[in-house]
């Protein structure tokens, strides 16, 4: 699907697709009483038209903060202190707040982790979703309600006309997330940012929501950024995957490559450390899981050089001194590790 879209936009099919959104050297820091937290510290990634980019990483690696930065919604005391966010050719960081407000929810929409808190408890589902259409598209109440009902139906909510009049607390977690998806799709956005959209749900409900998202994405050729800490979820959903660690990107490649031939030591270690449901762990001499020693660093005071160096099985002396820069090692595959040929910035 990706290739047909790319070739539709570009007559030479071999040319690399032009990203819909491109994050370049993004820096978001939290200015706290204890000091500056370098939550996102020089991050690059891009999303091509019609594709799903999965962003994975452990908690605190900067996934949420970098995706909020794309909407210019980083919460204080955080500030975006550097970089560019090119969306349809323009840098979002130079837009006025008014221009951003017109873009949010219309061209770029967000699906949140917690469906319970992302809906307003005091308005009915119909009222809060119609409001968006009235605001963005100057639709009449009536048109808006029709469109909302159509979308609720699309996301698999039966009897949408009744649901319109219900309040969030009357819906189950899975249904709330369906409403969250319907809300994101109201204005046919070009890009949907989904931050851990299924983390709060049970696995059988997660499976329903993932199937729905994959189906809608293919039908409407949306681009999607799917943020998650679950390797299974990205494997199921993403065309390409960006792996983050401690506020930086380790590696980006197509999904198959990340799983079959990961290059960054962190990606490798992370995949190896996860037990698998399709593997038998013999009883006799009991197996141990390969582990990554230590824990993710405190970003108030991140390690110099490569941020993974104190946990990395392949670290050499230079890793403590040199900050590796993302480098292409194959078409569409970038890695940020001096042992994989990245040049670096000396501290």
């Amino acid at each position: 699907m990706l290739s047909t879209l790319a070739s539709a936009a570009d007559p030479t099919p071999m040319a690399a697709p032009k990203p819909l959104i491109e994050v370049q050297d993004l820096k978001v820091h939290f200015f706290t009483r204890d000091g500056v937290v370098r939550a996102v510290d020089g991050v690059d990634y891009g999303v091509n038209p019609g594709e799903t980019l999965g962003i994975v990483g452990e908690s605190g690696s900067g996934k949420t903060v970098s995706s909020l930065a794309m909407l210019r919604l980083v919460p204080p005391p955080a500030r975006t202190v550097g970089g560019r966010i090119l969306f349809e050719g323009e840098d979002l960081l130079t837009r006025t707040p008014k221009q951003m407000a017109a873009l949010r929810g219309r061209r770029i929409a967000m699906i949140f982790q917690n469906p319970a808190t992302s809906l307003n408890p005091i308005y009915s589902i119909g009222a809060q979703l119609s409001e968006i259409l009235v605001w963005h598209e100057k639709a009449s109440r009536r048109q808006a309600e029709e469109r909302v009902a159509e979308l609720l139906n699309l996301v698999g909510i039966t009897d949408p006309l009744t649901r319109l009049r219900q309040f969030p607390h009357e819906l189950s977690g899975g249904m709330k997330q369906r409403v969250g998806i319907a809300r994101a799709l109201l204005c046919n956005p070009a890009l949907v940012l989904a931050d851990e959209p299924t983390t709060a749900l049970d696995v059988t409900i997660q499976a329903q929501i993932l199937e729905l998202l994959a189906d809608l994405q293919a039908r409407f050729h949306m681009s999607m950024v799917l943020v998650t800490h679950d390797m299974g979820v990205v494997a199921r959903m993403a065309n390409r995957i960006t792996v983050m660690y401690a506020g930086r990107v380790c590696e980006t490649a197509d999904a198959a490559t990340i799983f079959s031939a990961p290059q960054h030591p962190y990606t490798r270690a992370l995949l190896e450390s996860m037990p698998r449901i399709d593997q038998s762990y013999s009883r006799g001499a009991r197996q141990k899981l390969p582990t990554i020693a230590g824990r993710p660093p405190n970003l108030l005071n991140p390690p110099a050089g490569c941020r993974f160096h104190d946990r990395c099985p392949e670290a050499i002396a230079d890793c403590r001194r040199i900050l590796p820069v993302e480098t292409a090692i194959a078409p569409g595959h970038t890695v940020s590790c001096i042992r994989r040929g990245s040049p670096g910035i000396a501290a």
Binding site: E58, S59, S172, G174, M175, D202, V203, T204, I205, Q206, A207, Q208, L210, E211, H229, D230, M231, G232, V233, A235, R236, M237, A238, A255, A256, F259, A269, L270, L271, S273, M274, P275, R276, I277, D278, Q279, S280, Y281, R283, R286, K288, L289, P290, T291, I292, R295, P296, R311
Partner: protein, 328 residues
């Protein structure tokens, strides 16, 4: 071999009052745990899995008498322990508590923020080894080393620790008085992936070294596959299938188990061909369906499934049991 822990027809019901339409109140009850039976042999690990609210924690709490079971027998080392708690015989209750320890899901909430780690670890010793206070210090040091921490950590407070370290403290506290059986309630769910593997390895190592028996509760099936010898699957308060870990994961017999396993996205792109996506919501325990509680979502349901509740019966070999009128 006789089982270390044997749970027989354990049930826990909670009364609930709801506002009705015409009467001010309606009384009904939630069957949080319904007729649950299983046994764990010494040295084994039973993984207890199921979705949120299915009754895993309540089962654990009822076994330990943190909530009083509504019905059923909990036999520990051959003796029914439910009456001991009822009679409130302090020496016997302490004896049971010493052998049966609980590790909580959330390492944050389970540690007293005002106590140093040393004080936290001494607490069980104070209760169970009051006669030998001079041994407490050495024991705390030994416990810290056992779980991969350092003796100087005894002087620190919980807020100075990471989630993984706090979970190590939780495990050390449970081990303080040399229990036989640990009930681990979601011990790795709140931890980061890279730290999860460390704790899972620690649990395996401690089990081998100390001859421990585990009841391992989790909704994370990959960690269950790794750590368990046997697995029990729960749905709406009821065990629907139980068997040896490899048999259950490779040849699940109950339709719910199959759907649950296939719902888990594999870390392998394109591995998605034979997925079963269950329709419908998990029903609330308040409105438990008649007959087999799974029947409204089951593709293989027969008319009988809505009428009669299937009992847990032997499926393949005496070790594997499931509760289904129309098994695969």
């Amino acid at each position: 071999m006789s089982a270390l822990l044997e749970v027989d027809s354990l049930s826990k019901r909670y009364p609930v009052t709801r506002r009705g339409l015409f009467r001010a109140r309606q009384y009904s009850e939630i069957r949080a745990v319904h007729n649950v039976s299983f046994r764990i042999e010494a040295g084994e690990t039973l993984g207890l899995v199921g979705e949120s609210g299915c009754g895993k924690t309540t089962t654990a709490r009822a076994i330990l008498n943190l909530v009083e079971p509504s019905e059923g027998v909990v036999r520990f080392q051959g003796r029914d322990i439910v009456p001991l708690f009822k009679e409130n015989d302090r020496t016997k209750v302490l004896q049971v508590r010493r052998s049966l320890q609980y590790v909580f899901q959330d390492p944050w909430l389970s540690l007293n923020p005002r106590w140093t780690i040393g004080e936290t670890l001494k607490e069980p010793l104070r209760v169970h080894r009051p006669e030998a206070p001079e041994t407490w210090g050495a024991r705390v040091e030994e416990l810290l080393r056992m779980v991969g921490l350092e003796p100087h950590h005894a002087w620190r407070y919980p807020h100075e620790f990471s989630g993984g370290q706090r979970q190590r403290v939780g495990i050390a506290r449970a081990l303080a008085i040399e229990p036989r059986l640990l009930i681990l309630d979601e011990p790795v769910s709140s931890l980061d992936v890279s730290v999860r593997a460390q704790i899972l390895n620690l649990l395996v190592e401690l089990q081998d070294r100390l001859g421990l028996t585990y009841l391992y509760i989790s909704h994370d099936l990959s960690s269950v596959r790794f750590i368990s010898t046997h697995v029990a699957v729960m749905y709406l308060g009821k065990l629907v299938e139980i068997g040896q870990v490899d048999a259950l994961f490779t040849r699940p017999r109950h339709h719910y188990t199959r759907a649950l396993l296939s719902a888990i996205p594999m870390p392998q792109p394109g591995a998605a061909n034979t997925r079963i996506v269950l329709q419908g919501e998990v029903p609330s325990a308040l409105r438990r369906p008649s007959g087999c509680p799974f029947h409204p979502r089951c593709a293989a349901a027969l008319p009988v499934c809505a009428e009669r509740e299937p009992l847990l019966t032997a499926a393949a070999g005496d070790d594997h049991r499931m509760a289904c009128h129309n098994p695969t």
